[in-house]
Assembly symmetry: C2
Homo-oligomer: 344 residues x 2
Amino acid sequence: MREKINKVTIEDIARVLNITAATVSRALNDHPGIAENTRRIVKETAARLHYQPNRIASSLRLGRTNILGVIIPSAEINFFGSVIHGIEKIANQNRYSVLIYQSNELYEHEKLGVQAFLQAQVDGVLASVSKETINADHFIEIKKRGVPLVLFDRAIDSLGVPSVVIDDYAGAFAATKHLIDQGCRHIAHIGGQQHVSIFNQRLKGYIDALNMHGIAVNEDLIVYGRVSVDSGRECMQQLLSLKQTPDAVFAVEDFTALGAMQTIKDADRKIPDDIAIIGFANEQFGEFLTPGLSSVNQQTVTMGEEAASLLFSELQTADRYQSNPKKIVLEARLVCRASSIKQK
Amino acid sequence: MREKINKVTIEDIARVLNITAATVSRALNDHPGIAENTRRIVKETAARLHYQPNRIASSLRLGRTNILGVIIPSAEINFFGSVIHGIEKIANQNRYSVLIYQSNELYEHEKLGVQAFLQAQVDGVLASVSKETINADHFIEIKKRGVPLVLFDRAIDSLGVPSVVIDDYAGAFAATKHLIDQGCRHIAHIGGQQHVSIFNQRLKGYIDALNMHGIAVNEDLIVYGRVSVDSGRECMQQLLSLKQTPDAVFAVEDFTALGAMQTIKDADRKIPDDIAIIGFANEQFGEFLTPGLSSVNQQTVTMGEEAASLLFSELQTADRYQSNPKKIVLEARLVCRASSIKQK
C-alpha cells in the first residue's frame, strides 16, 4: 500500500524536466555542482508531484538519523520523565529527536527495545537498566555495532560505557542522619531488591550513618520490599507488629514511603511525632501529601543533561569504547518536608 | 566507525561454508527452500563470525519494521502512561515494539516527532494532539505516505483518520450532577483552553447539567485556567474573592483540581463540607491526597487497546483512508472519593 501511494520517483521528475535522474538526485541533495536555478526548479517539481524521498535509502547514504533512543524502566515514574526532559534539552540543542522505549522493568522487553532502536537506526542509545536485568548481552550488542551507549541512574559498571549516576550512598547517609538529628533512635529501613546496585548502596548508607552516630543496627528494623505502594504497606505492617516499633522510617524510594505512610495513618499513629518518615527520589506526589513527604532529590534534569552531553561527545569520538569510560556521580540532596521534621 | 566494526558480510559466510551467498541469505531469512540442516549451520557460522545483518537493507526488503510510534503531549501525565500500557499490550500480542515521542505540548516538537517516526520507518503512528497544535499538515504527511495513523483522546475529526476518544461531555455532565446530588447549588467550573475540543466539551457538560437541574448558570463561577497546579491555585483564589463563594468546584482536570484544593485548604475552608471538589482524568495522585480527590475515569488502558486494535486493522486494510474512519467513543466513569461526598 505504501509503495502504491509513493509512486513518484526521481526518474519521473527527470522525465518531466527532461534532465537526467542523476541531476535530479544531486539537486534534491543540494550537491554543490548543481546550479541554484536547476536546484530550485527540481525541488518545485518534486513538491508539485508529491515526491517522497526514500528515507531508508537516504539514511543509508548519510549514515545518521538524528534520533536518540532512550530506554527507561517506566514512563509513569516522574523521576524518568524528568531525566528525559534533561536529555531532550541537550538533544534539541543538537537538533536531535528523542524516542523513548519503556521496558516496564522486564528484561525481555528491554531486549526488544534495544532491537527496535537498532532497527530504527538511532544514532545513540541512553538507558536505565530494568530491575529484572541480570544479563547485559543486549547492551553489548549495541557496543559491538559501534553505536554510542550511555547509561544513567541504574548503570552496569562492567559494561565499560559512560554513565551518570547519583551518589545513592551519600543520599541515604544524609537521610538517615537527618532522622537521627530529629532525635530518632529506632530508625527502620524499608529496602529494595538488593541485586539492584542503587538499592544496595542506600542500605549501606543507612547502616553506616547509624554506626557513625553510635546507634546499633537492629536487624529487625530492616525489611525488604518490592518498591511499590502495596509493598510499602506490607513492610510497614511488619514493622508495626514488632514489640519495639520504630520511631522513624527511611524508605528506599517514595512509592514505598507512601504505602508506609498510609499504614501508619491507618494505625492511628502520628507522622512525624510518633513515626517520622523520609523517602528517596522526590517524586512529584510527595509535596501533595499530608504531611508533605521528605525525600532525596536526585537532580534528575541535570542527570539527563549530563547523560546526553556524554552521548554527544561519544558521537564525536573515533576511538569509542577504547579508553576508560567516563562516570559522572551527581550529589543527592535532602528535601525536608513535614513528614520528618519534629517540632522542638 | 560503525562500518569498520560490521565488516562480516554474507559473502564471508558463503566463502567459509563453500556455498553461495544466495543460499546464505535464504538460510538467514528462514526461506522454506533451504534444508533445516543448512539453515542451522549458516546461522551458527554467522553467530561465530559476529555477522550483523544490515537491518536497513532488511527493512527495505521486507517493507516493515514491526515498530509503532506513539506521540503523546507528556510522559509525566499518568493518563498517557496508562494509555501506552494499553497500546503496548496489543502491540506485544502482535509482536510489535512501541516507541514513544513526547511533544511537551509544542506544535514544533510534534512535527519533529512525526519526522523522527517516518525517518525510523515505523509501520504505524498513534497520536494525541498537543494543546498548541492548530495546523495538521504533519499528520496529513503521514496519511500521504500511506502509513496508518490513529488518534486518541485529543483527536482532529477533520483529518479523516480513525480515533478513540472518551465522552468528555457525558463525563462532565455526570461530575456536575454528582455535585448537585450532594446538595451543592453554587457550583463553579475551572475550565481549560477552549480551542481544545475535550475542554470545551467538559464546559458544555457542566452547563447542560446545571440547566437540566434548574440551576441558573452564573458566569462569575466559570473561570478559565491553563491546566496546571499553579493555574488551579490562581483560579481558586479568584473564585474565593467573589462575594458569593462557590460551594463546589468542578475542575477541568486533576492538576487544576489539586491547585484548587491547596488554595481551599490555605484559606481554612473545609473540603468537602465548605467546598466540594471533583476533577477529571483520575490521575494517580488523586487517591493519595487528603481528602482523596473525586474524579472521572477515562478508561485509559481500554483507550490504548482500542487505538492499537484500530491501527492493526488499518495495517491489514488495502483501501486505507478511502472509507469513513471509525470513531470509538468510550464511556467516562465517575470515581467518587472524600473530596465530594458530603456527610448526610
